[in-house]
């Protein structure tokens, strides 16, 4: 009984201490990093007693909220351009990475057996390649038995950072895609059926024979979908692995990019996975609530330092160390305390 009392008392003290000293950090934005942000927030609260409240309202919403100064930080899958950051007095940096993989449902084909390049993928999504035994696909996959069936193209119906990065890659890989469709969170799809969310695309692919789609790597892995390899900028076929994703991030020229405006698709390097994507944090340089903004920086520093394992468990890719060092310098130089 005494023991129980002590626990209750300790709990009360801890609770009141938290309430008295901790400024809860608020953030809003992208849905893609929500699972890892909330896992980090949980662990951080246990360690320090400081809470973090993150609302996944979508990248566009995150940008709007930070511009309106209603949150301590905003999160977006698509980075803002340097001029825009300057105009709004914002600092931006990449927080964690994910990767996008093409997935297929073809009888007898196992994960990683097939390979695509950007040009072929763009042609499929443009509706120029309609059959699986098309010469372009055959040429890339001489050892795979391809049926003479129509390709069912699946893509996202909701606006999403995943679509932004996927279409950005296609635009870099194919001039035809760039002129006809372009890039964006929601684009004018020439063909295909639209499914809602990564889970919708995963569901569609596993249901529909002879289909192709694109999802976050985590969804492909957790739903045991047949992902494919891709030919990267260096002309080498690569498989979607954490090393390949990190290679893309390391090879990106972060230091020379103002405001870390780097889109991680089609990066150089022999090992780089071509559709890697970072998700970004946005904060005011001169925040009205300096205490909260310092708390947020502390949280992000902690996440970079001790959050890597948690990220990998959820199939996210932590930022490489070199990039983290750069980001720490940016914080010191630009965010006023």
């Amino acid at each position: 009984m005494n023991f129980l009392k002590t626990i209750v008392a300790a709990g009360l003290v801890a609770a009141s201490a938290t309430a008295a000293f901790a400024a809860d950090i608020t953030g809003a934005g992208a849905t893609f990093p929500f699972p890892i942000y909330s896992k980090w927030a949980d662990a951080y609260k246990k360690e320090t007693g400081n809470g973090l409240n993150y609302q996944s309202i979508g990248s566009g919403g995150g940008i709007k909220q930070i511009q309106a100064k209603t949150v301590t930080f905003g999160a977006s899958d698509a980075p803002l351009k340097a001029e825009q950051l300057e105009k709004d007095g914002l600092v931006q940096w990449p927080m964690v990475m994910g990767a996008i993989v093409p997935v297929v449902n073809l009888e007898g084909v196992k994960p990683g057996e097939m390979v695509f390049d950007g040009e072929t993928l763009a042609s499929i999504y443009l509706g120029k390649i309609t059959k699986w035994d098309d010469a372009a696909i055959k040429k890339l996959n001489p050892n795979v038995k391809l049926p003479s069936e129509a390709i069912t193209v699946v893509r996202r119906s909701d606006g999403s950072g995943t679509t932004f990065n996927f279409t950005n890659y296609l635009a870099k890989a194919s001039a035809d895609w760039k002129s006809k469709v372009g890039e964006g969170t929601a684009v004018e799809w020439p063909v295909g059926v639209g499914a809602k969310g990564n889970e919708g695309v995963s569901g569609n692919i596993s249901q529909t024979k002879n289909s192709i789609g694109y999802v976050e790597y985590a969804y492909a892995k957790q739903n045991k979908l047949t992902y494919t390899g891709l030919v990267n900028k260096a002309g080498k076929p690569v498989q979607p692995t954490v090393e390949a994703f990190q290679a893309a991030a390391s090879n990106a020229d972060w230091a020379k990019a103002p405001g870390y405006y780097v889109i991680l698709t089609d990066q150089p390097g022999e090992k780089s996975w071509p559709i890697t994507a970072a998700t970004f944090i946005l904060m005011h340089k001169d925040a009205t609530d300096k205490a909260a903004s310092q708390e947020a920086i502390k949280f992000f520093r902690w996440a970079f330092k001790s959050g890597g394992k948690a990220a990998e468990e959820l199939d996210y890719i932590p930022m490489p160390e070199g990039v983290v060092t750069l980001i720490e310098k940016t914080w010191a130089a630009e965010i006023k305390s």
Binding site: G61, T185, G194
Partner: protein, 329 residues
């Protein structure tokens, strides 16, 4: 007893006036409360229209009336090209097919339940209909996705294509590669979803037909079919159309289930087995990550749906009035 009558006598005219004024106060309060409730509907509706117009204004200014007949929907183009033709077409086609299926089936169920059904079967069928109305729309969406979709794509569509191959219009309607997600799948799900509206309202109004009327008709030797056609349906026409309109309103605006299974393609296809989209599905899909002109365009779509629903309901009223005139009322 005496004491009591004394009290009543004492109360006399003075308390009577007081009591009457208390009644009057109650009446006036009641009148104003109900009146305010009724007016609040107009205020809320007005507020919704105003906020839709304000939100849609940038898109209205940019696209004007061409918004109505542009098929292209390219929010990422620079500047964005937005047109409502695809979603409007999808909304009307899915609702039309849904009503085409749901009206005869719903009325059939209602007639069977009130006129023909043995007593012991009434409760189970009635409860099944109510249950159908209570299922959340996302469940319908999932069922359409996992069960109806594969059936349509693998069995029904190949069958229809074989039957109508080469027939001028019908051939094109059923053509195309099999797809789980299609306009027709969404329309079928909508038909099931609106069925309870038509059925339960029809059952209710059929019950209002005075038994004397039916008995008289039977008395002069009418068959059940004749009674239904010449007595029950004419007597309850207004109620039936009310139920149909309620169902149509739901079909026009249904979002979640449709987004799940329609395939969300802004292109208009001649085939009903091709993916399409509806106004509400388009808004639900793209609103969260939209901004600027794109968001304004989506709000304009919402305003269009509002106007579309208004016109459909107005047309129904008009039709009803003309029917009444014909009937000589």
């Amino acid at each position: 007893m005496a004491v009591q009558s004394d009290v009543i006598d004492d109360a006399g005219p003075y308390d009577r006036a007081k009591a009457l004024s208390a009644f009057k106060l109650g009446d006036v309060t009641f009148y104003w409360i109900t009146r305010l409730s009724a007016i609040s509907v107009l205020l809320i509706l007005g507020g919704i229209i105003v906020s839709l117009i304000v939100g849609a204004f940038p898109a209205m200014k940019e696209y004007g009336f061409s918004f109505l007949w542009t098929q292209r929907w390219a929010p990422s183009a620079d500047p964005p090209v937005l047109g409502a033709l695809g979603p409007m077409y999808g909304t009307l086609v899915t609702s039309f097919i849904a009503m085409l299926i749901a009206i005869p089936v719903g009325l059939g169920i209602a007639i069977f339940l009130t006129e023909l059904c043995p007593q012991w079967l009434r409760r189970p069928i009635g409860m099944a209909i109510e249950l159908l109305a209570g299922i959340p729309s996302i469940i319908y969406g999932m069922w359409g996705f996992f069960v109806l979709g594969p059936f349509l794509a693998n069995t029904f569509q190949p069958f229809m294509i074989r039957i109508f191959d080469g027939v001028p219009v019908l051939g094109a309607i059923f053509a195309g590669p099999p797809s789980y997600l299609s306009t027709f799948n969404a329309a079928l799900i909508l038909a099931i979803m609106v069925l309870p509206f038509i059925t339960s309202i029809s059952v209710d109004v059929f019950k209002t037909v005075p038994p004397v009327l039916k008995e008289a008709a039977y008395g002069v030797g009418c068959t059940t079919w004749e009674v239904v056609r010449s007595v029950v349906i004419p007597y309850t026409r207004v109620g039936i159309i009310g139920g149909v309109m309620l169902a149509l309103g739901r079909a026009l605006g249904e979002t979640m289930a449709v987004t799940f299974i329609i395939g969300n393609s802004f292109r208009i296809s001649s085939s009903i087995f091709a993916p399409g989209t509806t106004i509400s599905a388009a808004i639900a899909s793209e609103f969260a990550e939209s901004d600027g002109l794109h968001q304004s365009g989506l709000i304009l779509l919402g305003l269009l749906l509002f106007v579309l629903t208004f016109f459909v309901l107005a047309a129904a009223r008009l039709m009803l009035m003309r029917l009444d005139k014909k009937a000589g009322k």
